[in-house]
Amino acid sequence: MNKEAAVQVLNLTHDYGSRRALSNVSFEVQRGEIFALLGPNGGGKTTLFKILSTALIPKDGTAKIVGFDIRTQANEVRSRIGVVFQNPSLDKKLTVLENLRYHGQLYGLRGKTLADRVNEMMERLMIADRAASRVETLSGGLARRVELAKGLLHRPEVLILDEPSVGLDPGARRDLWLYLQKLREKENVTVLVTTHLIDEGDRSDHVLILNLGQVVAFGTPESLKKEIGGDVIAISTKEPEKLSAAIREKFSIEPTVLNGSLRVEKQQGHTFISHIVDAFPDLIDSVSLSRPTLEDVFIARTGHRFWEDQ
């Protein structure tokens, strides 16, 4: 294995007609890590996923996957990546076994190698007992496991998943992530996952936060959260503008006004809470204190909530 990064994205820009979907996005994913592309819907994740999975040619810039250029060496890239789509990509009329077998053949596997790989993947993902079932009869969680088996059948170096936990119940989601972590640890597979779920960003080694096609933050979840100055205090009030001005004047800090409530980032949040409650008892309805999350990072960088545009 060479020392190059698993994925290098270089100034990627893409638009659909006049709508800009990605704007000059660059980042690197190291080998053997779980990397999350986190962002609200419409942030550009899916466009990036399509480009990296070689389904779409970008308008400008390029990306390299294990050293191969997605523009000029698409087939080299394709044989080295496993792709798990957000929408099912299985043939529902075919059985689990047929789906896996046909997929393996498209990746050049045949004969005993193919049969062994199919059996191995079915064992590992615990779907062997459903080998002869048509995919249309499987539950969402089981079907997603078949998708994963399919994406891993040809032993890709990089696994790219688009919103893999959409439509899964909490148990199936947890299984999926445990499996991804095992895959990374045991086989050094690089996992690149798009998600709109904050906690999936937290489970990753690195997170890239995308908003409106632009990179708003990049780092480990811990380092990003550390950038937020201490604790996050949310204050609900009937008069956000008035309270905001009062806090600014008295404590010389700038609260953020979000959907009619105030947010303040502060070290030693609990002592600050008692100060402001003492200072403005009539203006405050309720106060909450929390450790910063990746959503707070998003708010700090963009000035609006993750779900605001939904």
Binding site: A55, S89, D91
Partner: protein
């Protein structure tokens, strides 16, 4: 052609056939409808029909037309599956597999052609009932394969850009069925008015049907029916097949 091309094309072709065999209603509609048309229309028109001094019964005249209708229905319905493949997501995975796009196109067209051919053959086995000889069957199958492939290619270039199978049905009724009606399948060009003759002459399916008739009737009887020459019929059918195949390849390139 390397081995990965052949392996992936044959995989995709086999998938078409497996899917088809699992769907009984498709089997029935593709053979059943033309068969019913043939029986009712053929018997109904009966003796009021004449295609020339030596023409046989209408059941006989309409037989090759029915063969082509079966090919049209089956091949075209098989290409509608592209729309389903896209909707149900199967296509997205194939398009990021390390295979040339041409092998996807080829696998799809070959699969659809095979389906058309299998059903066409089932029907052609009835040919001796209306007076055709057993011996014509092998050469007829060769002609049918050419026609099925070109119709499949035509279906592919229509289906590739569509996102609903309703849209396809609309095109089928306004373009493909008239194309079949004006191919000499239902009535001979010799009896038609001038503008109809013009349409029949520019219709590529006229030549596909003529190739099937040449195979079934033999050269002297076919010549008496006023069909285009056999070499021209074959040339047009093969050229048309090649054009739609190339167009399918061009359309299937990776988007930007």
């Amino acid at each position: 052609m390397n081995s990965s091309f052949l392996l992936s094309a044959s995989t995709l072709c086999r998938r078409e056939i497996v899917r088809f065999l699992r769907d009984r209603s498709r089997i029935f509609s593709a053979v059943g409808t033309p068969l019913i048309f043939w029986l009712f229309l053929g018997s109904g028109v009966g003796k009021s029909f004449t295609a020339g001094p030596e023409s046989g019964s209408y059941l006989e005249y309409y037989f090759p037309g029915t063969v082509v209708l079966i090919l049209l229905f089956t091949s075209i319905f098989a290409t509608i599956s592209i729309i389903e493949d896209r909707k149900e997501g199967f296509l997205q995975a194939v398009l990021v597999a390390p295979i040339p796009r041409s092998s996807f196109v080829f696998g799809k067209l070959l699969g659809a052609t095979a389906l058309g051919l299998i059903q066409g053959i089932l029907f052609v086995l009835l040919a001796p009932l209306v007076g055709f000889s057993w011996h014509i069957i092998p050469i007829t199958i060769v002609m049918m394969a050419l026609v099925a492939f070109s119709l499949t290619g035509l279906g592919y270039i229509i289906a590739w850009r569509l996102d609903s199978s309703q849209g396809f049905h609309a095109i089928m009724m306004t373009l493909l069925i008239p194309m079949w009606l004006l191919s000499g399948a239902v009535f001979p060009a010799s009896n038609a008015s001038f503008w109809m003759k013009a349409l029949i002459t520019v219709n590529p399916l006229t030549y596909g049907l003529a190739a099937v008739r040449w195979a079934m009737y033999g050269s002297s009887a076919a010549a008496a029916m006023g069909l285009p020459p056999v070499t021209l019929s074959l040339a047009v059918t093969i050229t048309f097949g090649a054009i739609v195949f190339l167009a399918s390849l061009v359309m299937t390139r990776r988007p930007t």
